[in-house]
């Protein structure tokens, strides 16, 4: 099949760049990434694995000694474990946003990054799902949360937002894994076709007998579309549900209706920043410059401006509502956040999440790789602090002044946090060298049609 370049919209630089690509080139670029990795790669993998072991050891120590090895106390009974939980759930959001919502919206620029973003989603959800376990006082009894029929008719409490979480997160994980795997099937077959030896066997199994027959393509594109449609509400619902962990509590600074949209916007904000954080090195290392073009990254940056503005608006709304309600407790907590013990965290949050991303308004900045990358890192940090400020500051100064208290994380918590980041990068690095990190199928479609499947 010959590649025919028909510029539909002349201004679309994305496609102009694409005409340099051919199907073969796409396949070659992507398959090149699956070549046997270098010694340095394994060295990094080994270091990350050590980091995981370290985190696991910290957790083991915590299980053995008690959650007291972390810095939580009364009144701040939730610490970095839940901060990290919300943080990783947030990260997990952009993958689905990019692969599902943008797919439905026919945003062609999502194709080169959709696979990596989805992978990021899957891994981030897994890691997010770990944190509630780490957080528990008696993790060995966590099965009490499952609705297992038992003699004493003890049932979980479906009124509890934590039960909502169990349902939401597990649904999200299931759907995103299936969506990810479904999307990958044709690519797995491509890899299978070129592979030899044990690799061939493995890919034969996991490509589920994909032959590229017309009927398979028909089912595949339909199926993918339905998945996208199914995943779209989840993007909204999962983080809304996570926000209810807080919004359904009575704590001042938590108990507000803005939390669901505010959290969703925040999640997408952080997820897009993480996409940039991952894509920029990936693009460099795997020579994806022609596939993940500057224009793609620019589009992500533009979206970050948008989500950053929503997040900034939400921050403002919270303050406005606190004043407008004239509730002394709400007013106190919103006075405390920018001026109190955690003021540094608050200002990191405001500046990193709402001020710094505005630099993307400048074309020169959003087309410069170092700037793109640097600002994305700031947003990642800022979004971590957003969760810190929300979770810690509110309870540290809630209703009863006599019970106020401060929290700071301990070595064990940092160890577990380090472990979590190590798992994430460990899995992601394994992924990029062993599975196609860019969707060859979708790239080829885009090459032809400038949009996504199903047209």
């Amino acid at each position: 099949m010959e590649t025919i370049y028909k510029p539909q919209r002349p201004a679309d630089k994305l496609k102009i760049k694409m005409h340099e690509l051919t199907f073969a080139k796409i396949d070659q670029t992507v398959l090149d990434t699956l070549k046997p990795p270098s010694r340095n790669y394994w060295l990094i993998i080994a270091i990350l694995f050590l980091g995981i072991l370290f985190g696991a050891a910290c957790w083991g120590y915590q299980i053995f000694k008690g959650v007291g090895v972390a810095g939580m106390n009364n009144p701040v009974a939730w610490g970095t474990y839940l901060i990290n939980f919300v943080f990783w759930v947030g990260i997990a959001h952009s993958g689905t946003l990019i692969s599902a919502i943008l797919h439905l919206l026919r945003a062609g620029w999502r194709n080169p990054i959709a696979r990596a973003a989805e992978t990021m989603t899957v891994f981030a959800v897994c890691i997010a799902g770990l944190f509630p376990f780490i957080h528990l006082g008696r993790v060995w009894l966590v099965f009490y949360m499952l609705p297992i029929p038992n003699q004493r008719n003890l049932w979980p409490n479906f009124q509890s937002p934590l039960m909502f979480d169990v349902v939401a997160i597990s649904t999200y994980l299931t759907v995103s894994v299936l969506f990810w795997y479904t999307g990958m099937l044709p690519d797995l077959a491509v890899v299978r076709d070129r592979a030899t030896g044990i690799r061939k066997k493995i890919f034969t199994v996991i490509s589920l007998g994909w032959t590229g027959a017309h009927e398979q393509w028909r089912h595949y594109t339909r199926g993918y579309l339905f998945f996208a449609a199914l995943a779209t509400p989840l993007v909204i619902s999962v983080h809304s549900v996570v926000s209810w962990d807080f919004a359904l509590g009575v704590v001042p600074g938590w108990h507000t209706t803005i939390f669901a949209p505010y959290f969703v916007a925040g999640a997408i904000h952080s997820g897009l920043a993480m996409v940039l954080t991952l894509m920029i090195p990936l693009r460099k290392l795997f020579h994806y410059e022609k596939i993940i073009t500057i224009a793609v990254l620019e589009s992500v940056a533009k979206t970050i401006i948008f989500t950053g503005l929503i997040v900034g608006f939400a921050y403002g709304t919270e303050f406005f509502m606190a004043w407008y309600s004239q509730n002394p407790l709400e007013m106190a907590i919103f006075q405390y956040r920018p001026t109190g013990d955690y003021a540094l965290g608050f200002w990191i949050m405001v500046i990193c999440n709402t001020m710094i991303p505005l630099l993307y308004f400048f074309k020169r900045i959003r087309t410069s790789i170092p700037w793109l990358f640097g600002i994305a890192i700031f947003v990642n940090v800022g979004m971590w602090y957003e969760r810190f400020v929300i979770i810690i500051s509110s309870v540290s100064r809630d209703f009863i002044p006599h019970a106020w208290g401060l929290y700071s994380p301990t070595f064990i918590e940092f160890g577990i946090m380090l472990g979590a980041f190590c798992i994430f990068f460990f899995l992601f690095l394994l992924f990029v060298k062993h599975l196609p990190s860019v969707s060859m199928t979708e790239m080829k479609e885009a090459l032809d049609q400038g949009a996504s499947h199903g047209n």
Partner: protein, 978 residues
């Protein structure tokens, strides 16, 4: 390996791993083949006894379950404490089970200790006494704590037998100036007791009667009777002192005066009283000499001398002249200043002028601590050891080395090679460490004894449990070593019996049994005012008054409600429960006025070095407004060099700064020292604050009301949904309002437990907290975890300052509110917090997985999480209440309204086929509160006391506007604006 073998191995392997992995340690249950008659498994036996944690001598009941004491409660029959107990009394339990308790006699062997058997130790004692008494008279000396009459007489007899003078009674707080003042004015060198409850005005010149002074539980109770709200009015209590203390914090007006300035005020009041024509009954000569002594004390001069505000003084005069039955108390236990004696004399004289019959003073029922020798006598005693070539020194359960300033060189006196020192003590304290033989004896809860806290009250002690070790009764030791008595026939118990017979307290064996059963014979002797005229010399000392220290910086060591003189410092509960005023646990901060802090460029939490002529100490400074700016206060009790794991190197000892010279006039110790220098070390220290903020930030937490507002105030007309206009909502179906409630009301059948907390009665003493620790097996977390904010108290007494007048303080006991709309219940994913049919918010420990969401969502922050497994080093674990689960790590816990007691009442009621009666269920905090703050009962029962108190116009619910419908209903404190 074939498939079947593999499956077998895998199956058994995983099963055995699963079975082996358990968070529970292995436990063994033993049942007694032959149990003692009074021991029924699961049923408590109560033994009446007497508390010996301080000389007050409160009656107690020791709860014995399966052979060991698990709780101490006040003896309701006892006239001193009427069933109530303070924080120290509750903690006395830990002394028996203390892990550092010495189990066998220890003989010093160069630098180490050699354990001896008790028989060998007694043999050694015999040899030593024999050798010493052979050498000549007065070769044996004895120092003892305040003990009962019978034991004291036994000591005297024994010493007499050994040809030596009787024992000297040592108490760090011996009220020398008060005794001397009583002698000067009433001709009685003793400590009269006060019928405070009958007074209509109380003025204290530093007497800390809610903390340590004479008999704190008794006076706390009497004070709240006197200070109760009666027909919309309250009697007044004024406190004049340089340091507020907990007592001053409970005053209607605390007047900060210069150290030593109280005297001028009392003299001024005498002048006013005489001018008012009072005191006509006094002999002319006394009146004239008195008038001369007070002539110079005009109100302006008083203001200058004492430093109190003139309008405050005028109020004082006006109120005093207006009152019918005023009572004036002198200086406190740690009478700190040079004028303490004059203050006490003046206070006595003022009482005499205003109340000719002295009806408020009880001369018959005097405090037993009056038998204590003065500080100067004790000092002479030690100084004479070497001079009089004493061979043997016996010290009974006292720690003078800790109590005396190091400059008194008691160490040298004890280490003087020629004297063999025997310390009868259960702990390796500073004095015992210097002894040659440490002889542990049975503790008050383990032995027969008798101690009348007030004369005229026979109060017995009996073994309330079997022995954990072989420690004998000290009486038996003396009987055996001095009189060679065969203990199998005659022991100290028979001696006591004979003593009681001799005194006519009992007539026969039956009387003895009855006495022991009820803890004593309580027929207080009728008050008989000694019919002595006031000596002319009474006012003489009032002419020589030291000038109050209005400029110099003064350092004061104050007695502590928790540690008393330091004897309580080794008990974990006392260390763990924060000080009522500073809310700091485990540490000894230096209290400084904000002005003084600023002038020394210090901040709260900085470590300052305070140096006096006699010593120095580095302490964290604590910004505190309830002080005269020139005064710095540290509480006495901590900073032990040796006293077991909970006391050693914990906190600081302020005594090391004090002057070694006793007060020349009264012979009492000086608890204040000046001049002192203070400088910043540049270091700072994390303090174990249990409070997050000192003020309420305008929230509806601890509320007060003035008597006027109470009388004329109308009920809130319009209700709304905000903090200050939300309607009072009972946690009953009638509190259900479809407009506000999403869920239907709970259907409670028959019972809905609730509690009414009368803030007007709360003095902040934290006895309730200690009772809760004891009853509910609360863990002690220690200093480091306290700093982290991980205390386990289910019931805390919150202390709030008035943001405008920081010296005005309110206390609020905060415990689980057992809400009807409990925010904790809905958020738990596994239903660990569970709303019971009786309205209790039960925490199901076994179900809890430790998400801590309940604690996050609890507006009252009363839930406590087990961050670690609690430690009860053996044998402390023997104290644990078998009716209450011991929680493991990772589990949330909180106040249960003592559900075990409710369940027990259910059992009894069911057996008797009736309902639970009102007042039948008494949670531990309710039981012990000296002032009766708490009322517990069934809110469904319209006739219950708790329910009727709910109708009080002072009622409110903390943070009620959240619509939590708390079942703990507070009554506002009635605050009179003076």
């Amino acid at each position: 390996m074939d498939r079947r073998t593999f499956l077998k191995i895998a199956g058994t392997g995983s099963l055995s791993i699963a079975a082996g992995c358990t968070s529970e340690a292995e436990k063994t249950l033993f049942s007694l083949v032959q149990a003692p008659d009074d021991m029924v498994t699961g049923k408590a036996a109560w033994y009446a006894s007497t508390c010996r944690e301080c000389p007050a001598g409160c009656g107690i009941l020791a709860k014995n379950r399966e052979g060991r004491i698990i709780k101490i409660e006040g003896n309701p029959l006892h006239p001193i404490n009427k069933g109530k107990l303070c924080i120290r009394g509750q903690s006395a339990l830990q002394r028996i089970y203390h892990p550092d308790r010495i189990k066998t006699p220890l003989l010093k062997d160069k630098d180490s200790w050699r354990p001896l058997s008790f028989s060998k130790a007694i043999q050694l004692l015999k040899e030593k006494t024999l050798a010493a008494s052979k050498k000549g008279p007065n070769r044996i000396r004895m120092l003892t704590e305040v003990v009962g009459e019978s034991l004291l007489s036994l000591f005297s007899k024994s010493l007499h037998k050994w040809q030596s003078a009787g024992p000297l009674v040592f108490e760090p707080y011996a009220y020398e100036s008060l005794k001397r003042a009583n002698k000067e004015v009433f001709g009685l060198e003793g400590l009269v007791s006060y019928n405070m409850e009958d007074a209509d005005l109380l003025i204290s010149c530093g007497a800390d009667f809610l903390e340590t002074w004479l008999s704190p539980v008794e006076y706390a109770r009497k004070f709240k009777v006197m200070h109760a709200l009666k027909s919309g009015q309250k009697n007044l209590f004024f406190h004049v002192s340089p340091y507020q203390s907990l007592t001053g914090a409970n005053a209607d007006l605390w007047m900060s005066c210069h150290p030593g300035g109280e005297t001028a005020i009392v003299l001024g009041l005498i002048k006013e009283a005489l001018r008012d024509g009072k005191g006509q009954h006094l002999p002319e000569s006394v009146r004239l000499s008195l008038a001369r002594a007070v002539a110079a004390y005009t109100s302006t001069r008083i203001a200058g001398l004492s430093g109190i505000r003139t309008e405050h003084y005028k109020t004082l005069v006006y109120r005093l002249m207006d009152s019918r039955k005023p009572l004036i108390l002198g200086s406190g236990s740690g009478s700190a200043d040079a004028n303490a004696l004059q203050t006490n004399i003046a206070a006595n004289l003022l009482n005499l002028i205003l109340d000719p019959d002295l009806t408020l003073l009880d001369f018959a029922n005097r405090h037993r601590v009056e038998t204590a020798a003065s500080r100067s006598q004790v000092l002479n005693f030690f100084q004479a050891l070497e001079k009089d070539s004493v061979d043997l020194l016996l010290i009974n359960n006292s720690n003078p080395v800790f109590a005396f300033p190091p400059e008194n060189r008691l160490k040298d006196a004890l280490q003087n090679g020629s004297v063999f020192v025997v310390s009868f003590s259960n702990f390796m304290d500073e004095t015992s460490r210097l002894a040659d033989l440490i002889f542990p004896m049975g503790l008050p809860l383990e032995t027969w004894d008798e101690y009348e806290g007030k004369s005229g009250i026979g109060s017995t002690l009996q073994p309330a449990m079997g022995r954990l070790n072989e420690t004998p009764n000290i009486g038996d030791v003396f009987l055996e070593s001095a009189f060679e008595i065969d203990l199998s026939e005659n022991n100290f118990k028979t001696y006591l019996f004979a003593h009681f017979m001799r005194k006519g307290i009992i007539g026969d064996e039956k009387g003895w049994v009855q006495t022991v059963r009820q803890g004593g014979t309580f027929s207080p002797t009728a008050s008989d005012r000694p019919d002595r005229s006031v000596p002319d010399s009474a006012a003489d000392l009032l002419h020589s008054i030291s000038k109050p220290l209005d400029k110099e910086l003064v350092f004061t060591a104050a007695p502590s409600i928790r540690f008393f003189d330091g004897r309580g410092a080794n008990l974990p509960w006392l260390c763990e429960i924060p000080d009522p005023l500073t809310k700091i646990a485990w540490q000894t901060p230096l209290l400084m006025h904000p002005k003084t802090l600023a002038s020394h460029k210090l901040n709260h939490g900085d470590v300052a070095n305070i140096r006096s002529k006699w010593g120095s100490v580095e302490a964290p400074v604590y910004e505190y407004e309830g002080l005269h700016p020139n005064v710095m206060v540290m509480s006495i009790g901590q900073g032990h060099g040796s006293y077991g794991r909970y006391a050693e190197n914990v906190g600081l000892n302020p005594v090391q700064l004090l002057s070694p010279k006793p007060e020349p006039l009264s012979g009492g110790p000086r608890f204040a020292v000046h001049p002192v220098s203070i400088h910043n070390t540049g270091l700072s220290m994390a303090m174990a604050h249990t409070d997050g903020s000192r003020i309420q930030h305008g929230r509806k937490i601890a509320l007060s009301v003035s008597p006027d507002a109470l009388k004329h105030g109308k009920p809130h007309k319009k209700h709304g949904l905000t903090m200050h206009d939300f309607p009072f909502t009972l946690p009953l179906p009638e509190g259900y309002d479809p407009k506000r409630d999403f869920y239907p009301p709970h259907d409670h059948d028959t019972y809905r437990w609730g509690m009414v907390v009368d803030l007007d009665k709360c003095i902040g003493c934290a006895a309730c907290t200690a009772a809760c620790y004891a009853e509910n097996n609360l863990g002690v977390v220690g200093l480091k975890q306290m700093i982290e904010g991980r205390e386990m108290a289910w019931l805390r007494v919150e202390r709030y300052h008035d943001p405008v007048r920081m010296e005005k303080i309110m206390f609020l006991p905060m415990l689980c509110q057992h809400c009807d709309n409990a925010p904790c219940e809905s958020v738990c994913p596994v239903y660990a917090p569970h709303h019971s049919k009786e309205g209790l918010n039960n925490q199901i420990y076994n179900r809890c997985i430790g998400t801590r969401f309940c604690s996050q969502n609890c507006p009252y922050k009363v839930r406590r999480f087990n961050w670690f497994d609690s430690q009860w080093p053996a044998p402390l674990h023997l104290q644990l209440n078998p009716d209450v689960t011991v929680r493991s790590k990772g589990v949330m816990e909180k106040c249960s309204f003592c559900v075990q007691r409710i369940k027990q009442a259910h059992g009894i009621a069911k057996n008797e086929k009736r309902m639970i009666l009102d007042g039948e269920v008494v949670p531990a905090c309710v039981q012990t509160c000296p002032t009766g703050v708490f009322t517990f009962g069934n809110l469904m029962d319209k006739t219950s006391r708790a329910r009727q108190m709910v109708e009080d116009p002072r009622r409110y619910q903390v943070m009620g506007y959240l619509n939590t419908k708390p079942a703990v209903i507070y009554l506002k404190k009635v605050v009179q604006d003076i």
